[in-house]
Amino acid sequence: MAGEQQGELQLVVFRLKEQTYGVDIGHVLEIIRASDITAIPGAPDFVEGVINLRGRVIPVIDLARRLGLAPINVTGNTRIVIVEVGGTTAGMMVDGVSEVLRLSQESVQPPPPMVAGVAATYLQGIAMVDDRLIILLDTTRIFRREEKEALQELAEQAEERAAS
């Protein structure tokens, strides 16, 4: 958080469906290769399964599916970014991790309502780095429990209706 005070962000940058995304490095525990994922019958389709992370059973999601895109094709580059959000440790599968980037807070712009099919709720902002666009994801929202999310959406809809 000290970095933020100095107006600096550190991001883990990764690829997903020809797009570049970033998450705050503060949430990332480690990055591992995608292997031996045990599928969970009956779980939502974006849940890839569970893995054994040194004795802990950790759920892994297909980030592309979570964001409403087509499922990831697992290749040698596929990685699982292990994040810790709100006390839960979970992994998100991405097409490949490219770098860790430092950038100034100023280069981040608030999210436009919709980016490449990704709902604005998951976005923290868009960063411009040397002509590149990096989509900053809000990990806490991505790993929110489904039912809570559904309830939230209902509540939001109700609010919208009440407002209009």
């Binding site: 969970i40 019958p41 399964g49 006390g87 839960t88 790993f143 039912e147």
Partner: protein, 730 residues
């Protein structure tokens, strides 16, 4: 202000003492004025009074002071135990609980004046002796209750300066008693400072706590030169010096007297420090005009106290009802999370041991029995032994006596019985039986529900009992005991029992069964309907039961922790519920199977048997597949269908027969691997409950295997069973 930790310590003690009062008032009600019981309550009230005063909870302190006064008079025989008294005491106890809630939560302002008034009235009216209200000072036994609270040793340099800064709460707590003790001390000459101190309970507790944190308590006897001119200053200096290396938790005479020079030739302090005796000695001795220093470690022996020097303080007999076999065990408070972590680490070890076993097998088959292989086998075996021992020990460390739950119940039963106008003799056995703390947390609610049912529906009102030729007072027995590797809790009443015919009628009324079904069903099947959601046998929904929590919830809660609940009943003679619980939840034995490319685990508690079938042996009833095992028709479930996996089944089918409650179901899997000990891991908060699964485990090869929710499968398959019944009937 006090830190959270200090408040937590206070609350914990408070909880404990409230329980002591509660239990003993119950005994009081039953047995009348037993001196030991009165003494217990008195002491507990006294402790609460002291510590709540230190913490600044005035209302609590005032109220307990009043209770204490009352008990002091009881103790002196100036009053007698009466029904009114017990009622007022329970009211006071409830008020104390409210006051406790006031501390912990945003509870409303609790008014204590009414109950205090009642306590005073009680003292005046129930008494046989002199004027009430001010027993203090008039008694013959100088009990700690009468010690002055006005002076605090804590007035001396703040503990923050010492190394024992975190001892603030208990030190304050001690201060009051320490000051009082001085009254008993007489200092006439040289020898008297070699006092043997009687340590108050509170001081002992402080010392124990401190020992846990690595402090040692010393009794330091200090002699001052006879020619010393300014004894007070000297004493102050000594205090200052001691505070640098630790905490003075007690002194005789008290600090104030010392500072004003009101002592003869020496004094004694109890010091908590991390330094050793020699260093303490040297440090004190380095101060000018100190003529002698003697440092002795304070030894704590519960039950056996260092006798007090003065006969007047003859309270040395300390009655601490220690749990049997526990004796004087040194204990350390450990964070529950640390225990959980330890348990997880042991889990890892169990997994590695399983891996090693596999490795050994491969080794043996590849290299036969040469020396190296034998060595590895030996290491593997030894590791296995050590791991199981470790596992067992940690499991034991996580165990708590069921008393934690049971102790809350007598009061509840008493209140309920009063309310319902019933007379009940509530007997508890096996309080000391220990259970995993996770299990303990869960069983409270089901037990309360069963007890409520027993009091409400089970046991008849006294008149009815008399008419039936039963003893007027109903009997309710709650018992915990070990049975093999389980804990069995039984709750029996000698009440009405359940009548299958009445339940039949009810089931038809509620539309759970057609009259024909009900007539055909066996008694057992009918009785088990009480576990059906929404089913209540109560004729009328009373204030007590019928709160929307049914027996189905009870069964669910118990099954969630891998337990089971069964009951037997006889109309007119009573009902006995038997709850069987596992000792621990973390590690279970499981039957491992494969399905497609994956390995699944079935908890062995639900596996009745395994068998292989030819496809031709499967029969169809309507759309459901069934098999016949020894004449019994069981629904058949294909795990592949359930989990939408691609099955590799071919030719013969492997079937696991699962059972839960009275239901059985056959589950088709690809292949049976065998039994194994597995460590249950949760699928995590993110996934939450996944239908069909109850968790995951890690296999010897590092892969994750899923644990099948056997109970869930049996339950869901039950629908088909009924459909079979229907199809047979129709």
């Amino acid at each position: 202000m006090f830190t959270e930790e200090e408040v937590a310590v206070f609350l914990e003690e408070l909880e404990e003492k409230l329980q002591v009062i509660n239990d003993n008032v119950l005994i009081l009600e039953r047995e009348g004025g037993n001196p030991e019981v009165i003494q217990e309550i008195f002491r507990a009230a006294h402790t609460i009074k002291g510590s709540s005063a230190v913490m600044g909870y005035e209302k609590m302190s005032t109220l307990t002071h009043e209770i204490e006064n009352l008990f002091d008079r009881l103790r002196q025989g100036e009053m007698e135990v009466s029904e009114t008294l017990v009622d007022v005491l329970f009211e006071a106890l409830d008020t104390l609980k409210l006051l406790k809630d006031e501390i912990t939560g945003p509870a409303g302002e609790v008014d204590v004046s009414a109950v205090i008034e009642k306590l005073r009235v009680c003292q005046l009216t129930c008494g046989a002796g002199g004027p009430g209200g001010a027993p203090a000072g008039g008694g013959t036994v100088p009990a700690p209750a009468k010690m002055s609270d006005s002076r605090e040793l804590g007035d001396t340099p703040t503990p923050a300066q010492g190394t024992g800064s975190d001892l603030l709460l208990p030190v304050g707590q001690v201060a009051g008693t320490a000051a009082g003790l001085s009254a008993t001390g007489t200092f006439n000459g040289y020898q008297t400072y070699h006092l043997t101190l009687e340590l108050e309970d509170a001081v002992e507790e402080v010392v124990r706590e401190a020992e846990v944190r690595g402090f040692q308590a010393y009794q330091v006897d200090i002699g001052i030169d006879q020619g010393c001119q300014m004894k007070g200053v000297r004493a102050f200096l000594i205090f200052e010096t001691l505070q640098q290396i630790g905490e003075v938790i007690k002194s005789v005479p008290p600090a104030e007297d010392l500072q004003e020079g009101r002592f003869e030739h020496g004094f004694t302090v109890v010091l908590l420090t991390k330094e050793d005796a020699g260093q303490v000695h040297d440090l004190v001795f380095s101060i000018a005009e100190v003529s002698s220093v003697e440092v002795r470690p304070v030894r704590l022996q519960s039950g056996e106290k260092i006798p007090a020097p003065d006969a007047a303080t003859g309270r040395a007999v300390k009655k601490e009802p220690a749990p049997p076999g526990k004796g004087n065990v040194k204990t350390v408070r450990v964070d529950v999370q640390k225990l959980d972590t330890l348990m997880n680490l042991v889990g890892e070890l169990v997994i590695d041991r399983t891996r090693l076993d596999r490795f050994v097998e491969v080794f043996e088959s590849r290299y036969g029995s040469d020396d190296l292989v034998e060595n590895i086998v030996e290491i593997s075996n030894h590791l296995g032994q050590v791991t199981s021992d470790l596992q067992e020990e940690i499991m034991k460390a996580r165990m708590l006596p069921v008393a934690h739950v049971f102790n809350r119940l007598p009061r509840m039963v008493r209140d309920l019985a009063h309310k319902m106008g019933k007379e009940i003799d509530f007997i508890i056995e096996g309080r000391e039986t220990e259970l995993d703390r996770n299990v303990i947390e869960v069983i409270g609610d089901p037990l309360i529900h069963l007890l409520r049912n027993a009091v409400d529906h089970g046991i008849e009102p006294p008149e009815e009992r008399v008419r039936l030729g039963k003893p007027r007072t109903g009997r309710l027995l709650l018992k915990a005991a070990y049975v093999e590797s389980h804990i069995v809790i039984t709750l029996s009443d000698d009440g009405r029992g359940m009548d299958p015919d009445k339940i039949r009628q009810k089931a038809v009324e509620k539309g759970l069964m057609t009259p024909e079904q009900a007539a055909r069903a066996g008694d057992r099947e009918i009785l088990d309907l009480i576990f059906t959601p929404g089913f209540s046998t109560a004729g009328t929904v009373s204030d007590v039961s019928g709160r929307g929590v049914g027996m189905d919830i009870v069964r669910n809660q118990i099954e969630q922790i891998n337990g089971s609940v069964e009951f037997t009943t006889a109309p007119g003679r009573g009902t006995t519920f038997t709850i069987k619980l596992p000792l621990t939840l973390a590690i279970i034995r499981a039957l491992m199977v494969t399905l497609g490319d994956h390995v699944y685990a079935f908890p062995l508690t639900n596996v009745l048997e395994t068998l292989t079938l030819k496809p031709g042996e499967i029969r169809r009833v309507r759309h459901a597949e069934v098999i016949v095992v020894r004449g019994q028709v069981l629904p058949l479930v294909r795990l592949a269908h359930l989990f939408q996996e691609k099955s590799k089944e071919e030719g013969k089918l492997s079937v696991v027969i699962l059972g839960s409650g009275d239901k059985k179901v056959g589950v088709v899997v690809d292949r049976l691997i065998g039994e194994q000990e597995i460590v249950i891991k949760s699928l995590g908060g993110y996934l939450g409950q996944v239908p069909g699964l109850s968790g995951a485990t890690i296999l010897g090869d590092g892969k994750v295997a899923l644990i099948v929710d056997a109970r869930g499968i049996v339950k869901d398959a039950g629908v088909e069973e009924i459909s079979y019944e229907v199809s047979r009937a129709g």
